[in-house]
């Protein structure tokens, strides 16, 4: 086995301030190496491997904090890293990364051939996955921040939620359709007709208006098929719009739930996760799942449920 942490040390020197490297990252790595060496000298290879793994994770955590949150040359580089918010952000970011990997893996498993040949195609799936995992990570983060219900912090949470919603709106309306279409074309190895999720918001609206016109004047030979298509289009359109508002709905829900008992918060997190994942799975084949409900209502249902719960929490507090 080689000396652990050489690359991490290079990374730390490149990304973090010299002061943070000398006072925080250096001692952390030195301790890791000494303990690793001691374990090896005692013949405890598995213990040494364990020390190396946990020590490397700690180093990565410290580098991430000092590289991203603390300006280079800051007088007190550790001020941020002892704030209770930072570990929460780090944990939630890890959750987002794990969930993104899981969802992308799920999609990849369904289309193994092109992915195995060209793994970079997976990047095209990011715009489809991030709008689902980011609200969940965001909600989980807020529920762990102590005092998120205090008005000043709650205001900031809502501002961040609104910014995330805006970014998701841009993603869902313009980036996702392009990325989806690029993925399909690359996977098929040639031109493919666009589906609803490959149309921008404006294109979907135009298509829906045309379909409604045709249905109202009975100018189509297959009205039932056209009606099903129109419902599919509406699900896609409202689903993407509702997903854009999800960070805001989740933010309000999590602020309302924060500061409550641990069990209550755990139940809240689990319900939120279940709500989103069930909804996301159901929206994959909406026409079969929600035959009798309005597409707009179905799409906005999780957000409405979260906002109603948030308002109930708020009223209870008052």
């Amino acid at each position: 086995m080689t000396t652990p942490g050489d690359r991490l040390l290079t990374l730390a020197r490149r990304c973090c301030s010299p002061r943070a490297t000398e006072r925080v990252l250096g001692p952390a790595l030195a301790d890791l190496r000494w303990e690793y060496r001691d374990a090896l000298h005692r013949g405890r290879v598995w213990r040494a491997r364990w020390i190396r793994t946990t020590g490397s994770l700690t180093m990565l955590y410290l580098i991430a904090i000092h590289a991203s949150l603390v300006p280079r040359g800051s007088v007190t580089p550790w001020a941020m890293s002892t704030s209770p918010v930072v570990p929460v952000i780090a944990r939630s970011a890890a959750l987002v990364v794990i969930m993104t990997g899981g969802l992308i893996g799920l999609v990849a498993s369904k289309t193994p051939a092109p992915i195995a040949q060209r793994p970079w195609l997976l990047f095209y799936l990011l715009p489809a996955v991030l709008p689902v995992v980011v609200p969940i990570g965001f909600g989980v983060a807020i529920l762990q921040i102590p005092g998120a219900r205090e008005s000043r912090l709650a205001c900031r949470v809502v501002v961040v939620a609104a910014a995330l919603s805006l970014l998701t709106f841009v993603n869902n309306g313009w980036i996702l359709p392009v990325a989806n279409q690029a993925y399909r074309m690359n996977a098929a190895g040639g031109p493919v007709l666009k589906g609803f999720n490959e149309l921008t918001f404006a294109e979907t609206q135009t298509w829906l208006a045309g379909a409604r016109r045709l249905l109202s004047t009975a100018a189509t030979r297959h009205p039932s098929a056209m009606a099903l298509d129109a419902r599919d289009g509406e699900y896609s359109y409202h689903g993407r719009l509702a997903l854009s508002a999800a960070p805001l709905a989740v933010g309000l829900f999590a602020v309302g739930l924060s500061g409550r008992r641990r069990t209550m918060r755990a139940v809240g997190i689990l319900s939120m996760l279940l709500l989103f994942l069930t909804w996301y799975a159901a929206m994959r084949s909406p026409v079969e799942t929600f035959a009798s409900l309005s597409p707009a209502l179905v799409a906005w249902l999780p957000n409405l449920a979260l906002v109603v719960a948030a308002s109930a929490f708020h009223r209870q507090r008052q």
Binding site: G26, L29, L62, A79
Partner: protein, 103 residues
């Protein structure tokens, strides 16, 4: 106006570190983590130690590494007389507060 003197403060983690250092003498970061019975975390102990060094509660010296330990010197921490005094005062004040509120 009279010049304000800055009152030294001690967070629970700082207090624990000082207690360990006063009780057991010089220690390194991971040793503090393992001695604290999970009260200190690997990810935060070094930043707390850095801050305490800035406050003057502890001091550190580097111990040269043996050739097969990767060349990085290990940092050993010990309590300063000022740190010991702060801990002693802080413990006394906390005791008085506990007594006052227990009545």
């Amino acid at each position: 106006m009279a010049k304000r003197t800055r009152v030294p403060t001690l967070s629970p983690k700082e207090s624990l570190i000082l207690e360990l250092l006063v009780e057991r003498g010089e220690m390194y970061g991971l040793q503090l983590v393992s001695s604290s019975r999970r009260q200190l975390k690997r990810g935060t102990v070094y930043v707390t130690l850095g801050r305490m060094e800035d406050k003057g509660y502890i001091r550190s010296r580097t111990e040269d590494a043996p050739p097969d330990a990767g060349g990085l010197p290990r940092r050993m921490y010990s309590a300063t007389p000022f740190g010991e005094r702060v801990l002693e005062t802080w413990t006394r004040v906390a005791g008085h507060l506990m007594e006052a509120f227990a009545r």
